[in-house]
Amino acid sequence: MKNLLSPRSTLGIVLIAAALIALPFVVGMAGQAWVRILNFAILYIFLALGLNIVVGFAGLLDLGYIAFYAVGAYTWALLASPHFGLHWPIWAILPVGALLACFFGVLLGSPTLKLRGDYLAIVTLGFGEIVRIFMNNLNAPINITNGPQGITLIDPVKFGDFSFATRSEFFGVTLTGPYKYYYLLVALAILIVIVNLRLQDSRIGRAWQAIREDEIAAKAVGINTRNVKLLAFAMGASFGGIAGGIFAAMQGFVSPESFSLIESIMVLAMVVLGGMGHIPGVILGAILLTFLPEMARYAVTPAQVALFGKVLIDPESLRMLLFGLALVLVMRFKPSGLWPSPERSRELAEKTAGVAK
């Protein structure tokens, strides 16, 4: 295509690129810990966008999504750590992780996708728990997952001799591990966003949306709803698998604890709170729900000291309490999420107008 970008959009892209390049340095002023949190926010964007394909595009409620993340993480951990003495390269592990997650997605999806919405929700939830319990217990009689202790000393992301875990220098700027991972993650994120946008605006994306809108009508125009739903499941699962692999490499450590039900719920909350089916909204949801609880962690103790002169309430509980309240309040006042797709908000505006009549 020859559609050259207009000067205005070129400028916009340049500005966004500059902001993305500068971001870790700005965040890093508050400490390197915040760069790590930033990296996790991007990882959650991967997850939320993957789940958005299932929940937002195709309208299937999945409460066990984190299982696919776990599959990807353990794939990396087992294929690139001293646990089995394997050290596969990234270009081999990531596809294997994605494929394996995809396989599990199809395995779970093919018998269950005919179920009604809420039944599907509980079945996927159960599946997520089963995966976690297996990871917790597959250390005996044959030690596969090393049980609750998890797997340590996992290889970082490496391209040849270039490792993302160590410090290195570019043009006189020294970058530590988290900064280098940040740029890798941003590059991946851009790729994933493009893939998502393209999927949404395609024959398959329209079929997903049609199923979400009216399954019977979708069947009547010849959409094989079962296969198309399965495709959404498989796509979402592969995204989760890739995110899981990067997670394992970045952390250097995985254990079943990271893949509990609350994580699935968290990712779902990101999707719904941000604006289901709307890619910018989902990204916003992932960023907010990663950063706000972390910021609350730093804010609740000083706030209590300022108010009561001492720490009255357990900070961790207070932080989670505020998080729960935030979920409830957003849903109360923005039922379609903070940044819903334009059609969605139009629909709601009409509804309110209808009530006012």
Partner: protein, 253 residues
């Protein structure tokens, strides 16, 4: 007369003890507009649903375009070339009119997930063709000016037209319309009649389920009348109109 497109042989369907359809045999010929009428609850929509794979008939079966029609999955019916509209309009409400018709192209196109992601030239060409065909169809049913409006925001008459355009997008050999004139005023009904005439002229066979007897008699080449799930008569309108049983069924003797 031309060859038979769809043949129903002794189709039966019951719900619990209620016999919704019993021993219904009829045949629709290539290129005609075929009317299916009958009082409320006579089994018209049930017949429709059996034919389009939404229900599995309890007895009998269908032959379509020379091969048996496996009536177990609606998407198979659409693949074979049977498209339908719904009595109570089922559009994809939060998609635009254009997108609704584009979804109708799904069954005749191929782009996979990989095509969607990599946007190779073949996929792009297909996508452009889908869009063009959808726009043409919106012109055809005369609602091209509403292409970018959400389907649920269209007027009732336009929604009916959009549903027909979406069905036509699947390139049907047989287009089944389930009470398309329901809730329409005289002008809208007349416009609908012109539209159906046009569809027939362009070579698509039409099966019309209708309450509006005047519309059916004026439009259809042949008409079948159902009563209490059984076929009363199948013939040209002039004869059906004069049939004593039909008159009784409608006047409720």
């Amino acid at each position: 007369m031309s060859e038979v497109l769809l043949e129903a042989r002794s189709v039966a369907k019951h719900f619990g003890g209620v016999k919704a359809l019993q021993d219904v045999s009829l045949s629709i010929r290539q290129g005609e507009v075929y009317g299916l009428i009958g009082p409320n609850g006579a089994g018209k929509t049930t017949f429709f649903n059996c034919m389009t794979g939404l229900y599995v008939p309890d007895g009998g079966g269908f032959t379509f375009a020379g091969a048996p029609l496996q009536a177990d999955a609606p998407q198979r019916a659409a693949e074979r070339g049977i498209a339908r509209t719904f009595q109570n309009i089922r559009l994809f409400g939060n998609m635009t009119a254009l997108e609704n018709v584009m979804v109708g192209r799904h069954v005749r196109t191929k782009a996979s997930v990989f095509g969607a992601i990599f946007r190779d030239p073949k996929t792009r060409a297909e996508e452009a063709a889908i869009r063009q065909r959808a726009l043409d169809l919106l012109h055809y049913v005369d609602i091209a000016d509403r292409a970018d409006d959400l389907a649920k925001n269209l007027s009732y008459g336009d929604q009916r037209r959009l549903e027909i355009a979406r069905a036509l997008a699947t390139e049907p050999k047989l287009l089944c319309l389930d009470e398309p004139a329901a809730g329409m005023n005289a002008t809208e009904t007349e416009e609908l009649r012109v539209l159906i005439e046009g569809i027939r002229k362009d070579g698509t066979t039409v099966l019309l389920i209708e309450h509006d007897v005047k519309l059916v008699m004026g439009l259809c080449d042949r008409v079948a009348v159902l009563e209490y799930g059984a076929l009363l008569i199948e013939d040209v309108p002039a004869i059906v109109q004069k049939d004593q049983r039909v008159i009784e069924a409608y006047l409720g003797a």
